[in-house]
């Protein structure tokens, strides 16, 4: 199940749902608010969601992951509203009998969530300016945003999370 929350993200209950007798591997990804992005110092973020569609699209992605990979369970939680540095914005957890499927499914889910789910991020910088985060890969390649899946692998260390 894909959930959107406004309170500080508590994923322990969700993580416990992954612990099954048949699960030999559990892979979790936690996306956290970083203090910089593209050489600018970030003070905090604001996430905004089109809730109904985001939940629908997020659940589609989890279903796709269950169909594509041999996993037992896949869950994800995204927080919206104002988030401070080091707070958790997203959590993805996958369990499987063997580790490879859980790793692959977790990667698939976070990539798809970042490219398809209608959630937006506004960055507030320490210099007082702010801006909606755009897809860097799109602008660099000059490819219209609407015409491709844009996984954020180009500058993974900069963009991830």
């Amino acid at each position: 199940m894909f959930k959107i929350v406004t309170a500080p993200l508590d994923y322990l209950d969700a993580q416990n749902e992954l612990y099954r007798p048949e699960a030999g591997g559990v892979v979790c990804f936690e996306g956290r608010v970083r203090n910089h992005n593209h050489h600018r110092k970030v003070s905090h973020l604001n996430y905004e969601a089109f809730d109904e569609m985001a939940i629908s699209e997020g659940n589609k992605i989890l279903t796709e992951a269950r169909e594509k990979f041999k996993i037992i369970e896949a869950l994800a939680i995204h927080r919206v509203g104002d988030l401070q540095i080091e707070e958790t914005a997203i959590w993805v957890g996958v369990s499987s009998a063997h580790r490879e499927a859980a790793f692959l499914a977790c990667q698939y889910i976070i990539d798809q969530l970042k490219s398809r789910v209608p959630i937006w991020k506004k960055e507030f910088y320490v210099d007082g300016e702010s801006d909606w985060v755009k897809c860097l890969a799109c602008s660099q390649k000059g490819i219209p945003h609407s015409e491709h899946q844009h996984f954020h692998h180009v500058e993974k260390s900069e963009v991830e999370g």
Binding site: G31, Y47, E48, A49, F50, E52, M53, A54, S56, H78, A89, I90, I110, L113, K114, S115, R116, V117, P118, I119, W120, K121, K122, W132, V133, K134, C135, C138, P144, H145, S146, E147, G161
Partner: protein
Amino acid sequence: MTIKVKYFASLREKAQKNEEEITEVFNNAFDLYLALQEKYQFPLTVEEVKVAINGEYQNFDTALVAGDVVTFIPPVAGG
């Protein structure tokens, strides 16, 4: 014909509203976006946004019918 348009993120800020009802007739979401882009001076071109109709991604040439809820989706940035 009345349709509802929802705004989010940069488009919400430019339009200065969360949603509105549109009674003017538009053949499809492409024509509707161009009209709204001119009205509110949206900085995003039609190539930079996606469109959802009734909560599902659709093509811009999908015909609009009365009661549709149209949402233009600026580049997403979850995670």
